[in-house]
Subunit: 405 residues, 2 copies
């Protein structure tokens, strides 16, 4: 049963929940830009995380998995750097991630296993760990409840703007807060979050429940977006719950907690797409009339990742034939003779009939910042799925052809 | 055993083999451009064809399948138009494809089931069949052995140039000729040719053998290329063998025939990639060290279709981390710790070690027209596969954002 949750949008991002502080510094990995952020909970927090499904896993992911296991799902602090992914860096990379973790633990005065680390940026570059260490030492002295936005800036790579949000979740048992920040904006694909997300809450919830909530919400949000069909080596979603609000997430309150978490993650996931490399629009691809949920998701992903679809979206060209062609090659049950394509509120194709005279109206909708597309697979099934994607522009090429130069 | 085949590259394209004539006209589907081609064999030829795996199948594909079945694999003539794909056009579209076929049969004086038809261009547009009919009537009067290049022009859509080739195949039993022409250049993906290819030969071979040869060669050539990961509704490869050379493809000669066919198809397949929308380079992605051939092919395709790989290729950026990241998400057995990336002759990454000092040399290789990349998956297996792809440029976006406007 759906709880009647009410939310209040508030400021403060990751430091909006009680008992969380943050800091951001420029430690020299990037040139003259914030490149290191700390998130610290005043007391040990329940911790859950989801990591990339890529078989090439960056060193910080390896360290985090081990720490979460050893700590029994408890964490005090997270350190994140941008500019270097510390991926494909072999044994030295692993040592560097461990050292990053140890310095953090020593500054925060907690066991090393209660620290988490994340890195994002160029793959294969060695992590300049001495810069990171100095940065952590400086940042740890400057933790406060007002550096949330600077922290969101410090984790950016090609992101056009910092992305954060926070909501107060009102429940029958009282209110608690969930905050979060994310970075995109290339290598974004469904099937594991494929970006970095840091979520905090002052609700009181054990780490098993926390993991259950995070896993289900990630599936509908961070796992349902795509910028470029890529899946990175470093993608991670972290969620810390420190209980400082005094509101305990009982079985009765759990649905409210999930609702609040979904609210935060959905906002951040769509913001990643909005801020996708070269993106000019947020596009929702909703596939209906599928035989199975798996088929619906698969078709929606194939369409969301199609170059021809993404370029048509960019050009505001209601070229519905491209949607049908991708649905046909997606490897799902598909009945072309009963398929439908709708852009905005305009049905362009149904029962093998096209209405070219409606294309101008569809194109007008496509010229907006948010585009809604519905593709019905025409099977007898009624399963559906939605994936959020963006258009593909020449700017994406420019960004990615010269990323390192 | 590999035959010691020798080839002589000759002019003439599809009309190089004895007994084939062609014609091209401007019938008015496109504005002031050749848009209709005929290929006619003087006598009934053995015919084989491979069609798209897309579940949305264009009307001409439906008609060709039926004709090949009814004729027992015999064909006299093919009509192809560009500018309109006659796909997603329902019952009227099927009727139009049949009418196109009937007019062709009537002009060539053969049974309708011995004609084949193909269309390429915009999906969903009704085929202006009266223009096609007049065009076929005019073209049938102008068939000759010198219109091969005009025919190759008439089948183009966004192709930057016409693509044709022909070889004389020298065998112990004598020589025969194989010619061909293709059109790309968007919606090109492995798993069925995903473009139109027309092949002719004056070798004498029955349609079952012809189909066997075409199927195996298509797999290594047209099914091993990708421009944009798309698979169209119309993709077809046609091969007509009219026996006019008098050279019979016996069991002893069959390997020579396959060799010759591979020579022609390989050239044409690579030409499609070279002429891919916005492409500036032909890139061979060779995946080695795979556990299975399927894994090798799957990884090679994932890499060949990756936006981050294709943009790095465009920027001549030897960003080997992107190759490793894609191999890691390709869903194949992969051992990052033993993986290798080589660009040209330069090993950039091996045994978790990178050599940044070699990148300048790799970048120099990437600046050329042809780029060779090898990715070893580091498993104990020794299976491998090669896929040909192109880089992704801003020009691709320009072409596809405004295709219909």
């Amino acid at each position: 049963m759906k709880p009647d949750t009410t939310f209040t949008q508030i400021n403060g991002g990751i430091t909006a929940p009680i008992g969380f502080r943050a800091a951001a510094v420029s430690c020299g990995i990037k040139v003259d830009a914030l490149d290191l952020a700390l998130i610290v909970s005043d007391n040990p927090a329940s911790a859950a995380a989801m990591f990339t499904t890529n078989k090439t896993v960056a060193a910080p992911v390896v360290v985090c998995r081990e720490h979460l296991k050893n700590s029994g799902g408890i964490a005090r602090a997270i350190a994140v750097n941008s500019g270097c992914a510390n991926a494909c860096t072999g044994e030295p990379g692993l040592t560097n991630a461990q050292m990053m973790s140890q310095v953090l633990a020593s500054e925060i005065h907690c066991p090393t296993e209660q620290t988490l680390v994340a890195s994002t940026g160029v793959i294969g570059l060695p992590l300049e760990v001495s810069k990171i260490e100095s940065g952590i030492i400086t940042a740890a002295k400057n933790l406060d409840r007002h550096s949330n936005q600077e922290a969101a800036k410090a984790i950016m790579t090609t992101d056009p703007w910092p992305k954060e949000t926070a909501v107060q979740v009102n429940t029958p048992a009282g209110s608690f807060t969930i905050g979060g920040m994310v970075k995109g904006s290339g290598m974004i694909e469904p099937m594991m979050a494929t970006m970095l997300a840091f979520l905090t809450t002052d609700a009181l919830i054990d780490s098993l429940q926390l993991r259950r909530a995070l896993s289900s919400v990630t599936d509908e949000t961070f796992n349902s977006i795509s910028v470029d069909g890529e899946c990175s080596t470093n993608d991670s979603v972290f969620l810390l719950a420190n209980g400082s609000s005094g509101i305990s997430v009982s079985d009765a309150i759990y649905p409210f907690f999930v609702d609040g978490l979904r609210q935060v993650c959905s906002k951040l996931a769509k913001d990643i797409v909005r801020g996708g490399e070269g993106a000019t629009k947020l596009v929702s691809i909703r596939v209906t009339g599928a035989n199975t949920g798996h088929d619906a998701r698969r078709a929606a992903r194939a369409i969301a990742n199609s170059l021809l679809v993404k370029t048509a979206l960019h050009g505001a060209d209601p070229n519905w034939g491209r949607f049908i062609a991708v649905a046909g090659r997606a490897g799902v049950t598909f009945e072309p003779s009963r398929a439908l394509v709708r852009i905005g509120s305009v049905v362009l194709y149904e029962n093998e009939t096209a209405w070219p005279e409606r294309e101008a109206e569809a194109s007008q909708h496509m010229n907006g910042d948010e585009v809604d597309v519905v593709i019905d697979l025409g099977t007898m099934g009624d399963e559906e799925a939605t994936v959020w994607t963006c258009d593909l522009s020449a700017e994406y090429i420019r960004i990615n052809a010269d990323y390192r130069t």
